[in-house]
């Protein structure tokens, strides 16, 4: 189905957060392979083990850490315990990708793999994509002026290898492959978790019917998306652009009519 949506075969990421151990190997592998600069001095946030905080121009994978107070069953009943949620976030490589739609230079483009990539030699740093992305992924590097984000290791895909993060992940939390096949695998996994009593397990971004036409990088989450800092159900805003142009056209016509009226109502 994904091939039909884009009219091309398509690869993607399935990030199964239920097996993530929070090792951040993906973050490191991404930085190393893509020569992404460090943020500067280590800034301890106090937010569990997360000192990366968000996806940005200099963080193309971001491992979120969430500590939840839960009741855990014990032999004598239940006790207060901590549940850890860890999830490696990344650009969603949307089917209907707002960043790509709005880019005025054609710097952002759809690759032959169905992914979304910035051409750094073209980007003029207008920042439109930054405000368009409903996931807050793409961002500007201040000292450089251009925008940066995950390329799904476009250079590695071209030579037939998998992205650095997927290769580095020791638990197969990050799985790379044909998108349709990943969707099938994810469905089986979520059913397995439901059968094991994890009833909050859910897939996020896998459906081609969602507001972005399905993400090329989708997730298995163990709680609500917003707990992980993800928007619950974003809709690509460029979907309304036709209606917006029509409204603007009507407003422009009203403006001209108003000016004409200002002259025509003249008595003097």
């Amino acid at each position: 189905m994904s091939a039909v949506e884009l009219g091309m075969p398509r690869v993607g990421f399935f990030t199964d957060t239920s097996v993530c151990i929070g090792c951040k190997a993906c973050e490191v592998a991404c930085k190393e392979w893509n020569v992404v600069p460090a943020k500067g001095a280590l800034d301890l946030t106090g937010e569990s083990f997360d000192n990366t905080s968000e996806l940005s121009a200099d963080s193309w994978r971001h491992v979120a850490f969430i500590e939840q107070q839960v009741q855990t069953p014990t032999e004598t009943g239940s006790a207060e315990g901590v549940r850890w949620l860890m999830s490696s976030d990344v650009c969603k490589h949307c089917t209907h990708s707002a960043c790509l739609d709005v880019c005025p230079t054609g710097s952002l483009f759809r690759t032959e793999f169905g992914t979304v990539v910035v051409q750094q030699d073209i980007c003029n740093g207008c920042g439109y994509c930054v405000s368009a992305c409903p996931y807050g992924v793409i961002a500007q590097r201040e000292d450089d002026g251009r925008v940066f984000k995950c390329t799904m290791c476009y250079d590695r895909l071209k030579v037939g290898s998998e992205p650095a993060c997927a290769q580095a992940c020791p638990t197969q939390s990050i799985q790379f492959g044909d998108l349709d096949e990943l969707r099938g695998r994810a469905q089986a996994r979520v059913e397995e978790l439901h059968a094991a009593g994890q009833d909050k397990a859910r897939l996020y971004g896998e459906s081609p019917d969602d507001g972005v036409g399905g993400a090329g990088a989708f997730f298995l989450l163990l709680d609500e998306p917003e707990v992980y800092g993800l928007p619950p159900d974003p809709v690509v805003t460029t979907r309304d652009v036709g209606a917006m142009w029509r409204r603007a056209g009507a407003a422009a016509a009203t403006l001209l009519a108003g000016v004409a009226a200002a002259y025509l109502t003249d008595r003097g």
Partner: protein, 307 residues
């Protein structure tokens, strides 16, 4: 430590962090451009009317205003780029899905026409005088587009306040642009010729206030950002200046040149405040994740099949 919960949040966010990235745009550049582009576009429309009805002083004032404002717009737009030297990349492609791309083409067609129309006022060349009327009429039509497409430019983003306002913004911006252009022209033109500018300014100010109120009452959660913090100050000032400016201009602007100047400039200042207010409210709406999470949750609930 458990994730922080904001006081009114009905959901757990990720340590209270934003979901969206705030706009990279500098307020002075982009909110400034929203104003200057609107002033230019609507001034061109006024200028064409002045030319057609033989009001040479009004034509001169509005043509020069349009030229100055579009010049400022270009400087602001280029300055705001992360890589200003690459600004010509805007014309690499033409993409209807990108309002910025369409806007760049629109401006590239509009600005030379403004230059030709205003050129006739600045350089006494017969050829310029001959093409100025036609160029000016072209600039009027394109100018209406320049004054309103900026609503699509900011509406077509994930910024909650801007996107939620996308139905109202074109009319808010059209009104604001016409009010500022009419106001500036009233201030710069002798009373004998400025009557159409005054009429436009007063009517547009009223239209802008109506459209802004409709936008604020559209029921979107994000509209509350228009009433908080700095945006609140700006939006309140915008209403005061626009309403007051229109009253002074309408009541006294036909008799006293000073009143026309005061009222007209107040309208322009009101337009400035409105653009900066909407810009600021949008920025704020990207910071608090509730403007992303709550509306999306509500949409999901209303779409969910009733079990």
């Amino acid at each position: 430590m458990s994730p922080r919960r904001g006081p009114q949040e009905e959901f757990t966010s990720y340590y209270g962090r934003p979901i969206l990235k705030p706009p990279t745009w500098a307020p002075l550049d982009i909110a400034g451009y929203l104003f200057a582009g609107g002033l230019a576009g609507a001034s061109s429309a006024l200028a064409a009317g002045a030319e057609l009805t033989g009001r040479s002083a009004l034509a001169r004032a509005t043509r020069l205003t349009a030229l100055g404002a579009i010049g400022v717009s270009f400087v602001a737009l280029v300055h705001d780029l992360g890589r200003p030297a690459r600004f010509v990349n805007m014309l690499r492609v033409a993409k209807p899905t990108s309002p910025m791309s369409m806007g760049s083409w629109l401006l590239s067609a509009y600005a030379p026409l403004v230059g030709l129309a205003a050129g006739a006022e600045l350089v006494p060349l017969p050829v310029l005088r001959r093409v100025a009327p036609t160029a000016g009429r072209g600039a009027a039509v394109l100018g209406a587009g320049v004054a309103t497409y900026t609503a699509v430019l900011i509406g077509d983003t994930a910024v909650p306040t801007w996107h939620d306002a996308h139905r109202h913004l074109p009319f808010v911006f059209a009104g604001s642009a016409a009010a500022s252009a009419g106001g500036v022209a009233s201030a710069l033109t002798p009373l004998a010729q400025s009557a159409p500018a005054r009429r436009l300014a007063v009517a547009a100010a009223a239209a802008e206030l109506v459209a802004t109120t409709a936008m604020e009452r559209s029921g979107h959660l994000s509209m509350e950002t228009l009433h908080e913090g700095r945006a609140r100050t700006l939006m309140t000032s915008a209403k005061g200046l626009t309403g007051g400016g229109a009253l002074v201009l309408g009541a006294l602007g036909g008799r006293y040149r000073a009143a026309a100047a005061v009222g007209g400039l107040a309208l322009a200042a009101g337009s400035v405040c409105l653009r900066f207010g909407i810009f600021e409210a949008g920025r704020e709406s990207t910071i608090d994740p509730k403007y992303v999470v709550q509306p999306q949750r509500e949409a999901m609930r209303s779409q969910a099949p009733v079990a």
